[in-house]
Each structure stands twice: as C-alpha cells, then as structure tokens.
Symmetry: C2
Subunit: 161 residues, 2 copies
C-alpha cells in the first residue's frame, strides 16, 4: 500500500537520496551529475508548483513535482518529473505517481502536460508514458550523452488534460 501526499519541507532530507542516486548516475535526467543538495532542492521543490511523495510503511519510495513548463503564453502547460527508489521499482509506483500528477495538474488548472526530455534509451519510461496517454510530439537527435550508450535521442512527450 502506498500513500501519495504533498511533501513537507522536512521531507527533503529523505527525498534527496533518491534524487542524488538518479542524478549522479547521469543516465536519465539532463541534470549535472555533480548537483548539490541545495541545487536539487531548488530544482525539485523551490522552482516547482507542488512536490509530492509516495510513502510505503513510513518510507519515502517515490517523489514527483509539477511546475509550469513555460511562463507567459505557455503557462497553461505543466511539466513533471518522477523518481521511484530502486528498491520499490516494478510495483507500478511510477504509474500511480503519473496518474496522481495528472489529477493534481487538472486541479491546478493546467490544460496539458509535457515532458521535455525523455531519453529514447529509457524504454520503460517511454512505454509507460504512452500507456498513460502521452504521445511523442518531437524527437531531438543525439540530445543526450549517455555514460554507456553515447549519444541518444530524446523525445518530447505531451498529453492534454
């Protein structure tokens, strides 16, 4: 059983290890692998509109943020990022987080959700986002220098809310 709830400022000490391990690996997010805890807080919390955590047995096993993708005339589209702890993968938590984020984004008045940079090599994510209603609306050639695979494409993915 997982419970998804808004993050409190006290949660960041438990969110950070999840972000740190994913960012340090440098193979999914276009984030500096050397990012500091405070820079990660800015990215995941301060610059976000909302941040949520998924809890299971009192442990934080996942997190996501929603932010406005572009200001001005683009402010009706949101962007989200999701991370699930390695120990909790394969249980459908990413899908639960994405569905939850779509509901929250509608509640906040957003009319569409956009992922700007989904690596083609991240096949599980691409399949999941398709299943959850996203279409690929763009392909950026050689967008990401993957530590093992070298240059890989990135997809822009989009769904109306």
């Amino acid at each position: 059983m997982i419970d998804i709830r808004a993050a409190t400022s006290a949660d960041f000490d438990l969110i950070w290890p999840l972000l740190r391990d994913v960012f340090r690996a440098g193979d999914t997010y276009a984030v500096d692998p050397e990012i500091s805890k405070e820079e990660a807080r800015a990215l995941w919390v301060t610059q976000a509109r909302v941040t949520y955590v998924a809890e299971s047995d009192g442990m934080i096993v996942g997190t996501y943020y929603i932010r406005t993708n572009k200001p001005g005339g683009g402010a009706h589209i949101c962007n989200c990022g999701y991370i699930v702890s390695p120990a909790a993968r394969g249980q459908g938590i990413a899908a639960r987080l994405c569905e939850h984020s779509q509901d929250q984004a509608r509640r906040l008045g957003y009319r569409a959700m956009q992922f700007n940079f989904v690596l083609a090599s991240n096949e599980g994510a691409v399949r999941l986002w398709h299943r959850l209603g996203f279409e690929t609306v763009g392909t950026i050639p050689d967008a990401f220098d993957h530590p093992v695979l070298g240059l890989v494409d990135a997809f822009v993915m989009y769904r109306r809310l």
Copy 2:
C-alpha cells in the same frame, strides 16, 4: 553596415527597451509580459553563456544570447534567442545574428543548436530558421496562448553545428 560585438554590462540599459517591447507584446516569446528589467537581465545575460549586440551608427539594433540548453548529458546543445528592433527589421539582421551565433556556438564547443519554442504563427522566423539550416523536430500542440490568435502550436527546431 552593422557590427556584431559582445555585449558589455553597460549595454543592458540599451538592450532592455528592445526586450521590453517584445516581451510586453507577449506574442512571440514564452516570457511573462510583466517581466522586470532585472528578471530580463537574468534571462538574457546572467543565465546566458554569451550575449551579443548588433550596432548600426552607434545604435543597438539587435541582440542575441547563447546558453546551454540542458545541463548534464544535454550540455553539448545550445539554445539562442534573438531580437531585432522594429525600426531595423527587413534588413537581414536576424539572419546575420543567427549566422554569427552559429559560429560562436561552434567556437564554444557546442555540437548542435536548438530552439525550444518557435511559434507556428511566427511565420517569418520559421522560414528564416529553415533557410539557415534548422529542421523542425517537434510540434507542441496549442503550446502558446497568443493575444490575438488564441492557442497556436510551437515548433522545436534543431540544427547540427
């Protein structure tokens, strides 16, 4: 005759009126139309890798920036923004700025240039970027709420350097 040179910090007082008028109009850039001068300086100068101005007869008639589009594994692709003063349009200055920026971006080591948000309604820009070697690699539906046209698509445009 126009001269393109690196901007100095003293130039921003003359760059700002160009940015202000374009951003206030809210029909080309996904920027808050109410942006302040200091926020515009952060966007156009502080967060940029380099900022250039085009001068004609001692007047600043255009400006562009180059920045890293994404950190981490995406840092080999740059992003640019260009603005030409209304009085100086139709003289090929935007093309000159874009060609100049491609040379500078190569010099800085970037391997591709990406525009994240070119409005479909900005037909002159789309035509110009195609002519200068960019291809449309993505189309974001209803990406921008245009003050006259309502929701318009935005293109992701890309060229290798």
